[in-house]
């Protein structure tokens, strides 16, 4: 009962940023350059949900919040959801579906290269996130595939860091969060291998 309620609430709360953005866009409240705000904010929400997803294991480990295991997939899919809107806005409103320009952009601009590779990897994870795929791939292979999420996390913060013009405060905050989240895993991993050695 609690678990279902928690999951449903989280599902609705996670949708709020999108609703607020759509409301703002329709009511002309996003400032002089609304498309820039939409692209930037959906990208940032994709990154936030990615980091929240990556926080699930450390929180279980440190505080025993195992109920979070239930919602990890939901959170990961929300990261994909915001990343997909972010990508769509770029392809549609920045490039107007001009394939030549898009390919040129991906090749020539490192931050777009990283963002693009990240999005492809996210599609892979989203497409294999259902139970049927876990069964089909087998736990071991599935886990190996989904450890891609660490590289996606690193790619996402690099993407953000490279695109800001001058003030890197925000991307640096996300980098620190990511380092902490991955650091906890590394620490546990090294302790474990020490004990088994």
């Amino acid at each position: 009962m609690f678990r279902q309620l928690f999951k449903t609430s989280l599902f609705i709360i996670s949708l709020l940023p999108a609703i607020i953005l759509i409301y703002g866009a329709l009511n002309n409240q996003l400032g002089a350059n609304p498309i820039e705000v939409l692209t930037r904010d959906t990208g940032e929400w994709a990154l936030r949900f990615l980091l929240i997803t990556l926080a699930v294991s450390p929180l279980r480990l440190l505080f025993g919040w195992h109920f979070l295991a239930d919602v990890r997939r939901l959170l990961g899919l929300y990261s994909f959801f915001y990343a997909a809107i972010h990508m769509l806005l770029y392809v549609w409103l920045d490039q107007f579906f001009n394939l030549t320009d898009i390919i040129k952009d991906i090749i020539e601009r490192p931050f777009i290269t990283v963002g693009f590779i990240n999005f492809i990897a996210l599609i892979l994870l989203a497409a294999t996130s259902n139970d049927a795929m876990i069964k089909r791939l087998g736990a071991e292979r599935w886990n190996r595939l989904h450890s891609l999420v660490y590289y996606i996390g690193i790619g996402a913060v690099i993407h953000f860091f490279m695109l800001v013009k001058k003030d890197v405060t925000e991307p640096v905050i996300y980098i620190i969060i990511l380092v902490v989240l991955l650091g906890i895993r590394l620490y546990r991993y090294s302790r474990r291998s020490l004990i088994s050695a």
Binding site: N28, G31, A32, N33, E36, R109, P110, F111, K166
Partner: protein, 319 residues
Amino acid sequence: MHINKNKLGLLKDHDVTDEKVYLNRREFINKAALLASSAALPSIAFAESEAPAPSYTDLKKSPFSASEDLTSYQSITTYNNFYEFGVNKEDPAKNATDFPDKSEPWRIVIDGECDNPGEYDLDDLMKPFTLEERIYRLRCVEGWSMVIPWHGFSLADLLKQAKPNSKAKYVEFSTLYNPQQMPGQQSSVLQWPYIEGLRIDEAMNPLSFMATGLYGNDLLGQNGAPLRLVTPWKYGFKSIKSITQIRFVEKQPVSSWMIAGPAEYGFYSNVNPDVAHPRWSQARERRIGEFLKRKTEMFNGYQEQVAHLYTGMDLKKDF
């Protein structure tokens, strides 16, 4: 109460609701929605506020003025890059409300390689000039653009008064340095004071303009009050704001952005769709207020006036 049936014989909600109740409910929903939106967003709506009535009405017209649709006053005064007041676009409009301090006159120093240097109050500096309107396109290096009705006077007219000598190969401009009035200067995001420069022939070009106002009113703090440069064929950051010093120099000045990113921001920084910024293309731009992007023009469409300044130069190298 009558009951209607539509073509499919289906009942609609309002068929079973008394009209009065229905209308009342509609009104309630509208009010509630309004209340909810105003509660959520205290600085309600971006809904375009009108430009205030112009206080300068007899501005001289210029043949250099563009005949394109003006960008809204609201956008011009709320979407600004002016790091002295914060790094986000909406920061300057919030943080520059009391700028410049009206209690003391704005002082401008003109010195360096010239025969008639001096320090002036802005009012005295402006006295010889008839205010002129210049409707210019402004293209930001970030890929957006505006059309702005500036007013002010020609930079060349001002510079000639100082009588530059033969060593005056460049002109260097500085913004006010005052971290109390300009809180952004308390962070080291750029080297302060903000410095920009032009080659002397660029500065003497008739397009180069000193703006003191826009939309028929004095400049607001966020737009570079009380005196700023406008060089419409160059990326926006060249058009230095809130100027306190103009200096004739022999060597090419080093601008704040050249220090911040030498590979990304060159001395010339002419608008050029063929030379990409290392991190983004400059081929197209989004005109603020428009949905589709448009092609960026060489020299921002001012080739006729300025292309001759750069004959024989490799603009990929001298970006």
